[in-house]
């Protein structure tokens, strides 16, 4: 690439990064403002006050919420990785009657509006006595059509020869699954992991429904508690909460990103 193109590319990169990151940047700025500054739609705070952050931590057991979110999201991530990779494996490497039908049945679960199933599921959780427990928050999300689909698409790109070779080498299906398929698909597994972690982290309505007190509640419910209806909302405090909540997820993205790259550049199979 010549210098001119490189410069142009950097320019484009910076420009799109700015546009894309602007809303987050704006939230970051607001989190330091007094309510008067916010009202007048300023972009830069007059001074970087930490008051809003102090208020957030004072108002809510935010660390506890963060810990809960972390436990719930990690559990869902691990659960999904196990359950989905198993299912995807069956769809790709085992020939059986009705495979396409069952696969489509799986995919069809994605199209069911979650809002419609929420109430029956809520009653199921109530009957299982899983109110205010981590199980209630995580179990319904262990099986995911999305994850199965993602991994299936990736498993499909694994060369057939590899399967044959491993059969000749005397690996049984379980060994082939664990020793060959999973390591080869590391990228997709990380992608799915990051995705399931973040989407669980960002859930609001379900955690609210199946919890009644703070014992296992997650951060998104905390965010909601900062906003009001009939009385005035303190937006600076809300934005401070938003920033606190997205820092761990950005951190995870950063780490996941690095891992993704590493796995790819060093992957023996590529």
């Amino acid at each position: 690439m010549n210098i001119r193109n490189k410069l142009l590319l950097y320019l484009l990169l910076f420009f799109s990064a700015f546009l894309l990151f602007f809303p987050i940047l704006y939230a970051f700025m607001i989190s330091f403002m007094s309510s008067d500054e916010i009202l007048h739609g300023k972009f830069f705070p007059a001074a970087f006050h930490l008051e809003n952050y102090l208020k957030v931590f004072d108002r809510l057991p935010l660390l506890k919420y963060l810990l809960n979110s972390f436990i719930v999201s990690t559990s869902v991530m691990i659960g999904q990785l196990i359950v989905c990779s198993m299912a995807a494996y069956a769809f790709v490497f085992i020939q059986f009657k009705g495979r396409n039908f069952i696969f489509f049945l799986f995919i069809s679960t994605m199209m069911i509006p979650w809002e419609a199933t929420m109430i029956p599921n809520f009653i199921t959780i109530l009957k299982l006595d899983w109110f205010n427990t981590y199980q209630g928050l995580t179990f319904p999300f262990f099986a995911a059509a999305f994850g199965t689909f993602l991994l299936r698409q990736n498993f499909l790109t694994i060369p057939k020869e590899l399967h044959e070779a491993s059969q000749i080498a005397g690996l049984n299906t379980v060994q082939f699954f664990i020793k060959v398929v999973l390591p080869v698909s590391k990228t997709s597994l990380v992608t799915l992991g990051v995705y399931s972690f973040l989407s669980t982290w960002n859930q609001y309505l379900w955690p609210l429904l199946v919890t009644t007190n703070d014992s296992v509640r997650t951060v998104q419910i905390g965010l909601k508690q900062l906003q009001t209806q009939e009385t005035a909302t303190d937006w600076g405090v809300v934005m401070a909460g938003v920033i606190v909540v997205i820092i761990p997820t950005l951190l995870l993205l950063f780490l996941g990103q690095k891992q993704l790259q590493k796995g790819l550049t060093q992957g023996a199979l590529k």
Binding site: L63, K64, L209, T212, L226, T233
Partner: protein, 461 residues
Amino acid sequence: MAKKLKWFMMFSSFLCLFLLGACSNSASQSKNNENESSNNSSEDNTEESGPVEVSFWHAMSGSGQEAIEDVVNDFNESQDKYIVKPEFQGSYEELLPKFRSVGGTKDAPAIVQTYEIGTKYMIDSGYIEPVQSFIDRDNYDINQLEANILNYYKLDDKLYSMPFNSSTPVLLYNKEAFKEAGLDAENPPKTFNEIKEAAAALTKKNGSNTERFGFSMLTYGWFFEELVATQGGLFVNNDNGRSDQATEATFNSEEGLRVFNLLNDLNNAGHFGNFGTNWDDIRAAFQTGKVAMYMDSSAGVTDTIKNAPFDVGVGFIPYADETERQGVVIGGASLWMSKGISKANQEAAWEFMKYLQTPEAQAKWHVATGYFAINPAAYDEQIVKDKWAESPQLKVTVDQLQATIPSVATQGALISVFPEARQQVVTALENLYQGGNPKEELDKAVEATNKAIEVANKTKK
């Protein structure tokens, strides 16, 4: 292998970070859990050791949540027999389905807060114990409470729930803008026509952009209901659903049409600013001088006065020139007691409700949130007097409530499909602002509401 290890290390260090950070919190959490489980068992046993602990489900977030927690703490410290635990359950809309699922079982919270338009639903649900049974048992004197608030929650002279956070709409205006436009800043417009005249004088245009709108109203069904009620108009038939199950919506009467015509005239003249359905949006518009008069909840007055960089005036909501002022309907929420829970828990709920009515508790609540004091004796408390001296506008909100003439119109409508009716009114208002015909839009909303009422009545036992 080494790679795997690295990834694992990274991951676990991340985990440690969190564990460390939350160490102190999780310790207190497990203690809480123990408390809870020991208490659950005591709920089942009739002989109790230690205080009775009950849950209080509420939907107050933000500053309201802080205030509610303060009040509850005061109660818990004032005696040692009962402990009330306030638990946030999301917005009113999110709280109700949850209560519906646990209602009538022993998992139900002892006390639950429900918005005013859920009143009919709660009465019909069978999940609640009318507070009247405790009032009768103890011969508790509720006449000390604000009659205009009690009226809303009474049906056939029976009080079903304890009023809690109560508010009404008021007219807020920018005094400086009034002076600038040559209007009397101490004498806000009272009738629809006066609103129109003032709005015309207050509107300031700069080319095609309007720098300041004369009047605005949040696109929310509540304000429409109030403007109808203050003319004496009814929302639904059968005395606003109070003498019998409502079967038809009547808000497309001449009273309703007058409101729509007023808004339509203002909008067509370019004097009306539409700031949507979000409370904070319309307030920001007012506080930045984009609109000179608007209707807000009395609960929002304190903050608006505090935040606005100009003098804020508060007035009564306007009524049509052809009618007399009837007053306002109460809004907000009330507290309900669950049925099917242990006697001891109900007792705890009742004690808490009684505590809430004391002038001291009410005074504190009023000052902290801007909601009305249910017990008017609270207004004589020193902290209220201090607050009123600081912002005398607050008194206007109370005056408006107390000047209300009791009638079925100002008692407010009782219908189970109220949330849907409000959505229909919102859609009608939005269509109106886009140039819809007032009569047609109003009729459409009534028709849709009627259909909802019909469906709901079909499934009632």
